[in-house]
Symmetry: C2
Subunit: 491 residues, 2 copies
């Protein structure tokens, strides 16, 4: 059926179309049914139906902005609309749900249908459930990784391409900008794409955004890397693994992690940018994402899958029980990074971890001899080369380290007694930072004055809370008071 | 935040609200986030956010019709809108997903959140996945049943209340109107609520709708039952188990069946109408929903759960390999029923099964002595009492058996050889009927002239296809040609 576009400018987070209730009746369409919309050039997109009355005419269809952009549709343009039958891939998902194994063709079909919106979010939820309950074999995981790479864009670069990834979960812990600056100084190509914060106070992309742009096109990234050997950008707009983004969105709702999806998600993005040498950091421990046993299992899976793709992988297990660095929040974490780079009272734990991981990557790539990586990395840092490299990258990304935002208000949390700190909880400190406004309020967050095993005297500062509004600061104070025992433990 | 209702009259199948993009920014709301909307009387409803620009003003909110009705909102009325945090019940769902057991309080919390839309469809999908993968214990199933009853309305009736239920899947098989007519003739109270077709050619509600209304309020149903001892209505509008309806909708997408959900779904509706005596029919076999082994397991679970609720249950396993009756489709199935009631060339299989099940229910309720039920039921049928009762019910439901719709076109499928029929497939014959227009096109469907073990001579009719449009008939002819070997097998 031919229907005329009526522009309504709405976003639904997924392709949604609205049609008049009489049109729906004529086409036997019900709310939630899927249709395929074809534009003049023959390009198709699958969309979900909402039904509207009194506002749209019978011959009209209102499409969400997601659809308008992809199909490049104009107001009052005609499109061809057809009802869509439930996709065959739902049968495959049910097979996996029942404990079956999926072959390459079947996994490709599911991923292709997710890409084309032939599978709705609820159907993707069943796919996520299926692979969480019935773990994928190495072969299945390999095919899932391939399918995800195939569904996205790739970046072709020349040179020795290296990358690092951390599975996350640790407050602060902003090693990436340091590792990239140190390692790119040796001539390695590091096309680093990062995420924004999901449940934490800041992602690397949020932190870099305090000093430069992070949203670039593939073409722009190539230019930045040509100039500086590296980049520090947000992966969200690049389309390297659009299917992965959709699956992650669903996984987050249930706070589920499928190991196969985690592996495929990480490695597909590395392969898409042509990385050959990859360092993976798995922080484990109390208040981290995984226990040591889980971390060890994950390490073996990473190594096996990496081998299947001919990657040179080093997988490091690091202690992730406590926050790393002193600043929690985009600006505060950037300040920690700059302290390390400027050799100006750097947080020791952040510096040590960054040097350790840089060393491992330099050794993996043959830039340092075995056992000599730390020395090499420290030399690059101490000589100011790393700082130079960082400024180069930020400049190429149209930024400057001079433009850091300032917090409006702060509040000190003072110790009431002489005590020794036993533990600061990653999850709770992240929650506190979120309440203060992170990651949207760049300058909001927490400065940790004292850490595990430090003594605090009565009247000494433990934390300083930063916020942009009194309202948020007050909320944070209430949260702190209520959850103090879970945020920080004393001996 | 106070926002003003702008009426847009749209249906989204779930409570959806649209707000202006600047309002979204102010409230830090993103597409897919949940909000709570409170009306003047303080009644709250949870809704999902879409974002729109250029059409809505900043102080406005457009709500889907589902919300308008529940909160009884008027155009330009102000509502109080708040962002909603992810529900605690998602943690409980994750617990079940991981194989844990849920206690009564936890199950109640999940069901309450589904009822109040605090859990979104994707989250319900994870709940469905969890209970499909990690089957619920008897105790959990009992609590699920209780929770579902608690979330819905109830009907209070006096007298000896009986009911029957079939798990479905068999083409034709319209025993319910016959069983209800026979058993209500003995004075039993049968508040029968039925469903419409989901994947089959017709549900009991679709069939009854060919001769009377089926959409009544609880108040109206009580009146009908007071007059006639029974009713034959659609359960969809009654709100006996609204949560169950939501869960079933999600299950259907993945074509999944959780046994716990199936048991809770069926028994909760019986308990909600106060039934004490319940007959359950489980058809098994080739092209049925379950195998004989599965049917036997299900039978035991029904008995255990029934006992927990003090129900008198009889669970019967019946052969469901082949369609039952000759007509497939609402009008054609009603014709079969009327033939049985009028004692006018009745389809023997339909009559036999209906008498058998009626006998079991009469014996269960003590209306017949053990072993004498068949005789009793046949007497009621032969004497015309059942027909009288049926006409009484239909009249009370504002209908008449004289107003059956007629099909516009028909087409005979003729045998090309002398053959003996080995099997007619339930699923395929249902698919064929759907293509002919069932269940919306009431008079569409299939008349089965010859059944399993019948001989057909060359030139004899096997099926007659009925449709309301040539287009649908042609589609059905193409489908038949393509899938003939799967629809009907010969020896």
């Amino acid at each position: 059926m031919k229907l005329k576009i009526k522009r309504l400018k709405f976003l639904a987070g997924r392709p949604v179309s609205m049609i008049n209730q009489n049109t729906a009746k004529k086409m036997s369409l019900h709310v939630g049914d899927k249709i395929s919309i074809k534009n003049k050039k023959g390009k198709r997109l699958i969309s979900i139906i909402d039904i509207i009355s009194g506002f749209l005419k019978e011959e009209e269809i209102a499409i969400s902005e997601e659809i308008r952009k992809i199909l490049n549709l104009k107001n009052r343009e005609y499109v061809d609309v057809k009802i869509l039958e439930p996709p065959h891939s739902m049968i495959l998902i049910k097979k996996k749900f029942g404990g079956g194994r999926l072959n390459k063709k079947e996994i490709y079909e599911i991923i292709e249908d997710i890409k084309n919106n032939a599978l709705a979010e609820i159907e993707i939820a069943f796919f996520v459930s299926a692979i969480c309950n019935n773990s994928m074999s190495l072969k299945e995981t390999k095919n899932l990784t391939k399918a995800i790479i195939r569904s996205g864009k790739r970046i072709k670069l020349k040179g020795k391409i290296a990358d690092k990834h951390c599975i996350g979960g640790i407050a602060g812990n902003r090693t990436t900008p340091l590792i990239v600056s140190i390692c790119a100084s040796t001539g390695l190509i590091i096309p680093k794409t990062s995420s924004r914060a999901i449940t934490s106070a800041a992602g690397t992309a949020d932190v870099i955004e305090t000093v430069s742009r992070v949203d670039f096109s593939i073409k722009e990234i190539k230019k930045i890397i040509k100039k500086t050997k590296a980049c520090l950008v947000w992966g969200g707009t690049l389309g390297l693994a659009p299917v992965d983004d959709k699956i992650l969105k669903i996984e987050r709702i249930a706070n589920l992690d499928s190991t196969a999806q985690l592996l495929a998600s990480i490695l597909s993005k590395k392969i898409a940018v042509g990385s050959k040498y990859v360092l993976i950091d798995i922080p484990y421990g109390k208040s981290a994402k995984v226990t040591k046993v889980q971390a060890e299992k994950l390490r073996l899976k990473f190594l096996k899958l990496g081998k299947a793709f001919n990657l040179k992988l080093t997988v490091i297990l690091t202690n992730g029980s406590e926050p790393i660095g002193n600043g929690i929040g985009p600006v505060l974490e950037m300040k920690d990074i700059l302290k390390v780079l400027k050799r100006d009272h750097p947080p020791k734990d952040l510096e040590d971890k960054s040097l350790f991981l840089s060393a491992k990557l330099l050794e993996l790539c043959g830039k340092s001899k075995k056992g000599k990586g730390i020395e090499h990395a420290r030399k690059i840092l101490d000589s100011g080369q790393a700082f130079m490299k960082f400024k180069e990258i930020i400049k190429a990304q149209e930024g400057t380290i001079k433009k850091l935002q300032k917090p409006k208000i702060n509040y000190n949390i003072i110790s009431e007694k002489n005590k020794k700190i036993k533990h600061i909880d990653n999850k709770m400190i992240n929650n506190l930072a979120r309440i203060l406004g992170c990651p949207e309020d760049k300058a909001a967050g927490i400065y940790i004055h004292k850490k595990k095993n430090n003594f605090v005297k009565k009247g000494e500062k433990i934390f300083t809370l930063y916020a942009l509004s009194n309202e948020k600061l007050n909320h944070a104070k209430i949260f702190y008071k209520k959850n103090q025992a879970e945020i920080i433990e004393f001996r």
